[in-house]
Symmetry: C2
Subunit: 360 residues, 2 copies
């Protein structure tokens, strides 16, 4: 019913990863969510995390993941564990009938993700991955643009990059360079966002062919530290992306349609929390002597009352609330996660096969 106040969705957090700090704050700020518990393998670590992240005094602190999962007063679990642990814990979360908000990459490969998605489906719980930028109000405005046949036309190409330069400590010890933890490395961590942006721009149409580009860098354990890839669709659309742990912090997207171009340099983390922009270039041409543009592309500024990660928690909680009232879980989110993972798998396979094209 319109205007009905939803009972806040009670979140438990499993694992005290750095990213969980940001999501804890988002749960606190979301109008329909509440921090109810945190679990770590160490009670002390969980307790310190709760204190440092403004958990309410009534929040429960658990020294084991299982204990949190057995708590009947938890509706939903946020799971920021290393990727290799996802399948085990996500399935348990679902079996305990708790809704699942899980960090990306969602799995080591699509087959493992299918186990997770099936567990969620069989247990009637909502699944969503932790890709925040798609929930930014800016992204909805970008969608208005790229779906406009007059302003943007048909998508022809998109390039996306996400890189950040890691220090030797990260490159030796971070979970994202460990084959037993986040085996997809930079592809899973940074490439995930690039692939998601490409899928977003195509309205989630899977490409036909994926080809890793020359020069991927792997560590001695075979974890990808840097790579690029191209994706190709039957109708001629071409996408390229680049992700790396060795290059300066960059998160650019350029999507070009037959009639318009979308561009932004901060697609994953907006430059500012409360305001984000993108460049719309449509129906621009040149002056008579081709020495300047008329008109110049325009910047669209979208103000956001709440940060994008809060939008994510709010949307997830809204869906959970609907399920609690009898609706089916929204299948869009696991479908999008799976498509993203499928493309990561294909890039990895292409690299493993010496840069051969891989059919999706």
């Amino acid at each position: 019913m319109a205007g009905e106040i939803q009972t806040p969705i009670r979140f438990g957090i499993i694992g005290c990863a750095d990213i969980a700090r940001k999501v804890s704050r988002a749960i606190t700020l979301a109008p329909n969510a509440v921090l109810s518990a945190v679990a770590s393998r160490s009670l002390e670590k969980a307790s310190l995390f709760a204190k440092a992240n403004s958990f309410p005094p009534e929040a429960k602190i658990y020294g084991s993941y299982e204990a949190l999962l057995d708590d009947p007063d938890i509706d939903a679990v946020y799971l920021p564990l290393p990727t290799s642990l996802h399948v085990k814990w996500a399935v348990l979360v679902a079996q305990k009938k708790k809704h699942l908000l899980m960090e990306k990459p969602v799995a080591i490969n699509a087959a493992e993700f299918d186990v997770i998605a099936r567990a969620c489906e069989e247990n009637g719980v909502q699944f969503m991955d932790g890709t925040m930028w798609v929930h930014n109000p800016r992204t909805a405005k970008m969608r208005d643009f790229v779906s406009d046949p007059e302003r943007f036309g048909q998508l022809r190409t998109i390039h996306s990059c996400f890189s950040f330069a890691c220090d030797p400590e990260f490159l030796s010890n971070d979970i994202r360079v460990k084959p037993d933890l986040d085996a997809l490395g930079a592809l899973g961590d940074a490439g995930w966002y690039c692939v998601r942006s490409i899928l977003w721009a195509t309205d989630y149409e899977l490409p036909k062919t994926v080809l890793a580009l020359p020069g991927p860098v792997l560590n001695e354990a075979g974890v990808i530290l840097s790579c690029g890839a191209s994706l190709h669709w039957d109708d001629g659309k071409l996408a390229t992306f680049y992700c790396s742990f060795f290059s300066n912090l960059t998160m650019n997207v350029t999507a070009i349609g037959t009639k318009g171009t979308l561009h932004l340099n901060d697609f994953i983390i907006p430059f500012q929390e409360k305001e984000a922009s993108f460049i719309e270039n449509s129906q621009c041409f040149f002056n008579d002597l081709v020495t300047a543009w008329v008109p110049v592309p325009s910047e669209h500024i979208v103000t956001t009352d709440i940060p994008q990660e809060v939008c994510m928690v709010r949307e997830f909680s809204r869906l959970v609330g609907d399920v609690k009232k009898g609706s089916k879980p929204e299948s869009k989110w696991p479908i999008i996660s799976r498509k993203t993972q499928l493309i990561l798998d294909a890039v990895k396979t292409s690299i493993d096969k010496g840069l051969q094209p891989v059919q999706i």
Copy 2:
């Protein structure tokens, strides 16, 4: 000698292409150049062109290219003819001891360009191609940035795109879709700039491998209308580019180093004549919760007293003046042209061979 006033270089223009209007104005505006003659195969066309483009009253009008080349009062020739005619006329220009400013692409392939470059060398004349953006003062500021080991570090990747959406009339009749005129099509016309920007960013280091990406579009005569490619260097650098006659007007460059990122959306034709900018992203990171950037990337605005095509004419004329005073022609320019052409050739070969990698 410092402060010496150079006698203006006397330009003749061979062919009344659209682009010659812009360059005529640039010659008029350059302090060390003067419009002395124009030649067309039609005397009437040449006469109309001279009138429409503010040629001085004393400028000579020729109804044949040969007549202009025989004029002893011409120092330099600007040659905007279709690419397939370059080798014939450029060699004649050089043999007549006239310096040569020639439109891009410089030839149908590097072998043809070598004939041109050899003719220029043997006759002691200056060669320069008509790539204007490299002469923009902004480009010098961009060079300061990308060559700074602290602000930019080592280049890791660059993506460049240049596209514009052509109407059916262009796609049927423009010289750039005709195999006997500009056989390289979009690759030669638009891809030239992308490749040049990639070479610029690498300080003109040739890649080891060039690979055309899936989905090139060719017309029935085999002329490329749209394509993408990746370039790879032994040290792991990766470049990608996209050029097309089917996609909205876009001219973006993103170059990412180990410590900095350069970005601009108008690298070929600046949005405005007298002012141009680029984004420098260096030493940016995030706030504590990774919800915003600190600091945000900065925009560098470079004001230009004269437009970039005038800078080009001025620099070319300066070099011609030096040669007239006894210096050797500056070899940098034909070297850069040849490298650009070599990569275009490799992309074309890769497409012709079914997207096989091509070693440079």
